[in-house]
Every structure is written in structure tokens, then in C-alpha cells.
């Protein structure tokens, strides 16, 4: 992966597509935008990790269906997620370990899924955190959420995903560093958003 130079907040706020549509819309707005209604969204949370739970909870509060990451990822996909594709599921989001994104991405591959956004969140160096964001969505709300978030970064990130807009331009990439701490547990998480177009 090619990392872009570090950007600061002022640069981030300039980013964002002009021609964009809201996707993970808050409940109140969902009626006006049924294609992006929160009922069409599932968020996966890993019960082992506080940050994953906070991310899931923030999306749940905006109406997304909240699912716990089961020890059997294949069963989660085939029993709890895949059947909902027939009843309007359009977005699947999560803040998980990278291996879980890898598994779900491959399980979903044959169903018309596209990855809209992936963010790598890395605390392996003790002095700061590094975040590599990429996707076909406007990334500035996510970057802002991370910069402002501090210990509430995961919840803020989930909140930001409810506000993001789908960009019609080529994939964006951002690399940023933030002075924020991670709690106990893994020092590397991935936030992600999958989208079904059919």
C-alpha cells in the first residue's frame, strides 16, 4: 500500500466530493432517503474489544442493526447477513481485526459486494497512532472524527460514517497521524464499509 504524506486538519476539511449522496443516513433523515435508510445497514461488533463495541453502538443509535461477531464468521455471514440481502440490506460496516474483514470480504465476494471504505488504525508505535484511509466515499468526516476523537475515537468514527457521502470520483486515500491512545488489547484495527449495488 502506498502511503500518502501526512495531512493536517485544514487540508482534510477541504476534501470531499461535490457530487455526492448521503449513504448511512441518521434515522430522522432516512425517510427522505430510503435507499440509504439505516434499516438497510448492519454493523458488526467484536465483543472482545471496547473500541469495536463503541463503534457498533454509535451506528446502532442511528438505526443500524447491530450484530455480534460470532466465533464462526461463516455462520454469521450465511445465517445473519446474507439472507438480509433479499430484504434490502445495502451496507455492512465494522471496526474489527483485519482478518475479520478479510473473511467477510471473501464470503461476500460472490454477492455483488463492493468495498466502499477501509481504514487501517495503527497504534503499534508507542508515540502516536497512524491511520490510512481509502475508499470511494468522502473521507474528511472520518479523518476529522479521528483527529478530534481522542479516547472516544471509535464512537466518533461510527458517528462520522453516518454522515459520509458516496463520491462519484476515483478512490481517495489519506494518511494521517494523531496523538491518541489506545486502550488494552490489539494495537491495530480496521474500520470498513461494504456496499451492495444490486
Amino acid at each position: 500500500m502506498t502511503l500518502l504524506p501526512t495531512v493536517d486538519r485544514r487540508d482534510l476539511l477541504k476534501l470531499g466530493g461535490a457530487a455526492a449522496i448521503a449513504i448511512l443516513t441518521p434515522v430522522g433523515i432516512a425517510r427522505a432517503a430510503p435507499a440509504g435508510s439505516a434499516e438497510s445497514t448492519i454493523v458488526i461488533a467484536d465483543p472482545r474489544y471496547y473500541n469495536s463495541l463503541m463503534f457498533g453502538e454509535s451506528l446502532r443509535q442511528h438505526g443500524a442493526k447491530h450484530l455480534t461477531l460470532a466465533s464462526d464468521r461463516a455462520a454469521l455471514w450465511s445465517q445473519a447477513i446474507k439472507p438480509r440481502l433479499r430484504s434490502g440490506l445495502r451496507y455492512l460496516a465494522g471496526l474489527t481485526l483485519e482478518s475479520d474483514l478479510f473473511v467477510l470480504e471473501r464470503l461476500a465476494q460472490g454477492s455483488g459486494m463492493r468495498i466502499s471504505y477501509v481504514g487501517f488504525h495503527d497504534w503499534r508505535r508507542p508515540q502516536d497512532s497512524a491511520h490510512t484511509l481509502s475508499g470511494s466515499i468522502t473521507l474528511d468526516p472520518i479523518a476529522s472524527a479521528l483527529i478530534k476523537g481522542k479516547e472516544h475515537w471509535a464512537g466518533n468514527l461510527g458517528q462520522a460514517l453516518t454522515l459520509i457521502k458516496e463520491s462519484h470520483q476515483a478512490e481517495e486515500r489519506l494518511n494521517l497521524k494523531c496523538a491518541m491512545k489506545v486502550g488494552r488489547g490489539p494495537r491495530f484495527f480496521v474500520s470498513w464499509l461494504m456496499r451492495w449495488t444490486t
Binding site: M1, S71, D72, R73, A74, A75, S78, L97, E98, S99, D100, F102, V103, R106, L107, Q109, F120, D122, W123, R124, R125, P126, R184, G185, P186, R187, F188
Partner: protein, 524 residues
Amino acid sequence: MSLPPGLSSPNFESACKELRSIVGDDWVVTTDDRLTSYADPYSPGIAGDYAPSGAILPASVDEIRAVLGVANRYGLPLWTVSLGRNYAYGGAAPCLKGSMILDLHRMQAIEVNPELAYAVVEPGVTYLDLYKFIEHKKYELWIDCPDPGWGSVLGNTLEHGIGYTPYGDHAGHQCGMEIVLADGEVVRTGLGAMHDNLAWPLYKYGFGPSLDGLFTQSNFGVVTKIGVWLMPEPDSFSAIELLFRREEDIVPMIDTLRVLRLDGTVPTATIANWMRIAAGNTTRAEWYDGKGPLPQSAIDRLIRGMHIGYWGMRFGLYGRQKVVANKRDAVGEAFSRIKGFGMGVASYRRGEKIAPEHGTLAGIPTVDLMPLNWLGGAGAHIECPLVVPMQGAEFLDLYKRRTELFNAEGFDHYCGLTSTTPRSFINTGSIIFDRNDAEQCARARALGRTLIEDAHQCHLAGYRAHISEMDFVAAQFDFNDHAALRTYERLKDALDPSGVLSPGKQGIWPKALREAKDKESGKP
């Protein structure tokens, strides 16, 4: 897009047009975005060297025969995959750049005989599919599955894959096979050579030579159907987990296990070192921030913090309740001679819900790739598992040697031993790396090569290998100037004279490509 060697773009287009007329437009893939799913997802930085030209997805034996006809006429190399989830070894990616993937995942027929305890499956049937099929029918049968269990039953069996129940030697429990040869001839092995023979999936042999082995880890034909034996659901089952404190405990552990394996007390068993146990539950950075392999002090802290041993061993005991109880006592008594050992037991009666952590011992397929998060980043692994004798002192020497090699390249030593047969282990040594980190990829490749070379010096060999190392591993089998490989090549030339089937698989190349390679390397 990569084109097959020696095939012009117009000829390739023309071949694709004919292929579309056989399988339909949707089932010939040549666009880059759809081809990405056939790339090696764990490639250590060399995916471009193994890029396919396209993929074709036939749905029947007749379609495969027609596809082979086109491939032979155009000289189009086909790389056969069932599902292509053989990720540590290249996934769906071909040895020969520009090959077209012959993807058989649309062939998904399952037939189960509950009385005689066998299944007949096509290539697209996953372990999850077979498990669900049996569960849905309420048959009192268990499957045996690898971990993770999302791959093809047929594909894993052909690659000599392993599982964790008494049926863990998958090729050993395969019976009956249907193959389409390169010229389109359909052959059935064993008793299947007789039309409608009633005992085809029951008895491995037929009348004359046994052909099945020629089509496992091979490129002599396209296997379209196999029989696999299933395990009757036992009356009771105990999951046994043993813990051992010290590195050197591996000597009495193995020597004790060997006796219990040979006398039939213990079936398939798995041993894991501290890292394999830790990586399944935690990540490295939680224990150590520094670069390079974990120092001993950090390993000690991790072992204490996680309440694990330096080694763990697990296996299932199966059968009638009294038999299992007697086996448990025998196991406890045998291993209690090792100082500091601990033993955990979880027992189940037939029909009881089995805890997720014991699922693989009961043939319940799951998918969890937690160990790949060990280093953080985009986790991947490659490996070349060795077959090693079940002898403790000899293995400790090998373990120490390999630990030094892993550490010299900056990696922690992930070590597993699985005994699906009573006299040997499959020794997995996963090289876990961040596939987005070019420097780690280079070190992973270097270590992979070093481990193969070192194994040869120890008179050992890998039983599987990543596509990038198939030639190198094949070259290690050097008895009588590689007589075995030369025999494979004679078979290849006889059965697939145009050389269209999976060129390069297990180091077996068709004549034209062998000659081209020899010319390139200046070999007379």
C-alpha cells in the same frame, strides 16, 4: 491483462469466444476487476508474477470436456481450482502466468449414504456445505474438516489436506474418483471402473493398478467427483487439552504420544508451541513493542499472562462412554510423568451442543483467521509444512534449528504438529507477515526458501508448497537424479501431450515448457 505464453491477443479472444459459446457469457471472466478474486491474496509481494489471463466456470462434466477441446486446439493453459481457497499456497493463482483459471465452484452436487457413511461430492462443495447438508438431513454422521473450513472438500482432499478427528487424513479417507482427462475421456477409479458398481465409494481398490493417487497434487486430469468416508457420530466424545511448561518437554510429549497413537488410544492429535497458542487469542504488540522476534523475557511474560504452557496438545477421544473414560485415564497416566503438565477435559454425549472451541475436534467447520493478526497490518501467511518422524529428541533439534532461522529473519516461530497418521507429524511453520509491507514480504520469501533448504539438509521435505516454490520443493526430491519427477513428466506427456492442464503444478511441467525452461537456463 496477462496473456498465456505463446498465444496472441486475437487467438486468445477467439478462444474466449468459443468458451463463451460453451458455458455462456457470464461464465467466462476476462475483465480485471472480476479477475482480482483469482489473485493470490496472501502473496508475499509477487502476485503479478502469477496473474491469470481469465477464468472459465463450467457447470458440468460435458462442459469441462468441451472446454478442454478448445484449450487443446489453442494451446490455452488451464489452472484447475475447486474454490481456490488454498490461500497459504497461492489461492486460485496459477504457477504459469497467463493461465486461464478453470474454476469448478459451480459444480456443487452432494450425495450422502447415511447407512454406509460416505458422501460423494463435486468440486464446489465446501466443508460448510457438507456439514449443513448432513445437519439438515439429521444424519448421525460427522465430517472431518480443516481449519478454516470454508474450502472445497474435493480440493482439500486432492491437496492431501488434514483435519482433527480420526478421519483427519483426508486423502486416506477418500474412496472413488471421477476424472476428465485432457483429451476429454472420463475415467472412474477403483470399482467405479465398472458401470454402476455398488461398492465404488466403499472399497478403495479395483481390478488392476490403483489410479487415485495419480490425480492428487497433480496435473494429469480434472477431478470432478470423489467419494469421502464419514465418521459415525460417536456415543460420546471428550476434548482433551494438555499443557506443558518447558521447551524441552516436547521430547517426552512426543515419545509418549507416539505410544498412544500406535496402540490406538489416541487418534489424530495436534501440538502447538506458545506462539501458535498465543496468536490464536492475542496480538504481538500487546506483549512487546520492539522490533525483531520476541525476546525470551517477553515470551515468558506472555506465557504467564495468558496462563498457557510453552506447548499445548489437543485431541479428541471418541466412542462408547466407558471406552472413552478408560482412554482418558490412560492418557492422564501416561502424560503425568512429565513434570508440571496440566490436563483439561470437556466431555459430550451424542447430540449435545459442542462448544465452539472444540468444534474442529467434532468436524464442525468454522472460519476464524485470528493468527494472521499477530503482527498487525494486513496479515497473511505462507508455509511449506514438513513431514517429520514422531520422535521427541530429533524434533527438539529441528525445532531449535527452525526457531533460529525464523528469528534470524525477524519473525517469531509459529510451530504446529498434527499427527493424522500414527508414525509422523505434519509440521506447520506459518510465516506470518503483513502483505502490504514490502520489506516484510521480502523477508517472508527469504525465510520460506531457507526453511525448505534447511529441511533438505535434515533429510526432510515439505508435503505442500506455495506456487512460487513448487519447482524448488520438487527439486528436493532427488533420489536417483529425480527419477520420481522424471516419471511424473513421462505420465504428463502421455496423458496431456498439449500440456494444457495446470502447467507447473508440484513442479510438473509439460514437455514444451520444460524444453523452453531448459533452453532459457542454458541446460543442454
